[in-house]
């Protein structure tokens, strides 16, 4: 997880579309969606639930195909209707419900990636993992099993397990969903500390607006299904950020703009739902 001199992890999403076909009924999840995420940028994707954000994430990660458009990672085509780059350690995912292996200790979870890829010897990986845990104030968890830990600690371990592989991009799918406000703010500062030191590109999905603005360099507000980019918001709050940023004028102005855009979409989604029911 050393700071990289060369900026890596630029994601270019061009006119991407995805049509699901469950039982002959075409469901358009994503339509002509484009984003240009710079290397080392913290991009946050905000949108109504079920709008197709996860579809984009799965396409970047290599879990799923797209039916239209192209996705490039550092100029290399990784997804198109005819291409799908298999999942790999350059695009690490932190899953919505957590996916630490419950049968491995914290240490074995963290060292799994580097060892299995042959990037590090087991002893070397163990040393690196111990050091990371120590630096991040998580010493003492080494030999615990994930299910013995609270969800906040599980999340932190999972983020470490991802970042130890030096990915070009970290894909996070609502990783702090369902946490209380206090735990969330601890998690935010933890993630920002890692972001400031690793500078790998972040692709972070959420529908918590405060979270989006507090964490992101750029916030993509998505439309209701089919997902398109409705508004791109640059967050020029200085880094490193801490919770005090949440009280500034600038923050409140950004929040107002975001709310407006999101509210419009929420109303649309609501009306669409009513139509479907009628």
């Amino acid at each position: 997880m050393q700071a990289l001199g060369k900026a890596q992890g630029a994601i270019s999403i061009q006119n991407v579309g995805k049509i699901y076909d469950p039982g002959g009924v075409n469901v358009v999840a994503v339509e002509t969606c484009s984003m240009d995420i710079q290397a080392g940028e913290f991009a946050v994707i905000v949108g109504p639930s079920g709008c197709g954000k996860t579809t984009l994430l799965n396409a970047i990660a290599g879990f799923d195909t797209i039916t239209q458009g192209e996705i490039y990672l550092d100029g290399q085509l990784i997804a198109s209707p005819t291409t799908k780059l298999s999942p790999g350690a350059d695009r690490m995912v932190v899953f919505q419900n957590g996916a630490l292996f419950p049968w491995k200790t914290v240490l074995d979870n963290i060292t799994y990636g580097p060892v299995i890829q042959g990037a590090m010897a087991k002893s070397q990986a163990l040393e690196a993992a111990r050091e990371l845990l120590k630096r991040l104030g998580l010493s003492g968890l080494e030999n615990r099993y994930p299910e013995e830990l609270s969800s906040g600690y599980q999340r932190r371990v999972e983020i470490i397990r991802a970042l130890i592989n030096n990915p070009r991009v970290l894909l996070l799918d609502e990783p702090f969903r369902g946490m209380d406000a206090v735990s969330k703010s601890v998690m935010h500062e933890f993630l920002l500390e890692l972001f400031d030191t690793s500078r790998c590109t972040m692709f972070f999905i959420t529908h918590d607006l405060d979270e989006a603005i507090f964490l992101g360099d750029v916030v993509y507000i998505m439309t209701t299904r089919p997902a398109m980019v409705k508004k791109v918001l640059r967050v020029d709050l200085p880094r490193p950020r801490d919770h005090r940023a949440l009280g500034t004028e600038k923050y409140l102005e950004l929040k107002r703009q975001t709310l407006e855009a999101v509210h419009e979409e929420a109303l649309k989604a609501f009306r669409a739902g009513e139509k479907e029911l009628a």
Binding site: A61, G62, F63, S86, P87, G88, A89, R91, M92, V93, F95, N97, G98, A99, L100, F101, P102, W103, K104, T105, D108, Y112, G113, I116, Q117, N143, Y145, E147, E148, R161, A162, N165
Partner: protein, 287 residues
């Protein structure tokens, strides 16, 4: 397996912990309730068969005569813990059951894992498994005797067959129960299919596999006795059947309890191995 390296508390300092455990037991109302439950059963049995001698119960041996036959130095019918005959039966039954069980574990777990792992293999094999599985073990006896060389192997086969299917099915369920997120995470982390098999499929299915093994051990003992009654020589099932034919009912009941104890011990053994291999689960349960 990584989880296996982590011993449960107390396994390394066995002797000391034994003493502690014994102390815990004797000071524990749960332990005494269990003892009392067993004594109550013996008491009711005694009253029904020796004191009241109700109709239909008068031919049933009372517990005292069963214990005298079972633990006496001079058993009337020739089988007690002091005779070679009794232990020969025990050894025969244990060897048959355990060899059948071992075979069921090796073949059943492998087949279950492969079926769960490969969709294509699943499609080929699942319908067949589902048709063969419900066949009662005893219905295999004629074919087993016809095909297999020797009655001994036929008995082991009949014991094996039910245990095998219980193991296959539970292993398969175990693999299918693994959350898709673990497979995705493993792929992200750079696993090759072989790594996913070793680090996700096997440990992920382990809880179900051990449930399956407990069931398998149970049905193995059941089919063993049935097999021994019908086509065996020696063994506890044979002893029980012989006792029945010769009106030696004490021998029947002593054989039944011997089977009960053997089955209980076997299940406890499987549980102990399971706890060791799945320390991650044991700790969650506060073991």
């Amino acid at each position: 397996m990584d989880a296996g390296e982590c011993a449960l508390p107390g396994t390394s300092t066995g002797g000391y912990v034994m003493v502690l455990r014994l102390k815990e037991w004797f000071g524990n109302p749960e332990f005494w309730r269990k003892v009392l439950g067993l004594l109550l059963f013996l008491g009711i049995w005694y009253v029904l068969t020796a004191v009241l001698t109700l109709p239909r119960f008068d031919k049933i041996p009372d517990p005292v005569s069963v214990l005298r036959e079972w633990f006496g130095t001079q058993p009337v019918y020739g089988r007690s813990i002091f005779t070679k005959l009794y232990w020969l039966d025990v050894i025969y039954s244990v060897l048959r059951t355990y060899s059948a069980f071992a075979l069921a574990v090796v073949l059943g777990v492998s087949l279950g894992l492969v079926m769960g792992w490969s969709r294509v293999f699943f499609d080929y094999s699942f319908p067949l498994v589902e048709i063969l599985r419900p066949m009662p073990p005893l219905s295999w006896i004629p074919l087993a005797v016809l095909i297999l060389p020797g009655v001994e192997i036929a008995v082991v086969y009949v014991t094996f067959i039910a245990a095998f299917f219980a193991t296959v099915l539970n292993t398969l369920l175990g693999v299918h129960s693994i959350d898709e997120a673990y497979f995705r995470a493993a792929k992200c982390l750079g696993s090759k299919p072989k790594d996913i098999f070793v680090h996700v499929v096997v440990p992920g299915a382990l809880p179900f596999i051990f449930t399956g093994l407990q069931i398998a051990m149970g049905v193995a003992w059941m089919s063993l006795v049935a097999g021994e009654i019908i086509s065996g020589q020696r063994g506890l099932g044979y002893a029980i059947y012989e006792g029945y034919s010769l009106f030696q009912y004490e021998q029947v009941v002593a054989g039944m309890f011997t089977l009960g104890l053997l089955g209980f011990g076997s299940s406890a053994g499987i549980r102990a191995v399971g706890f060791r291999l799945m320390a991650w689960q044991a700790r969650k349960r506060g073991m």
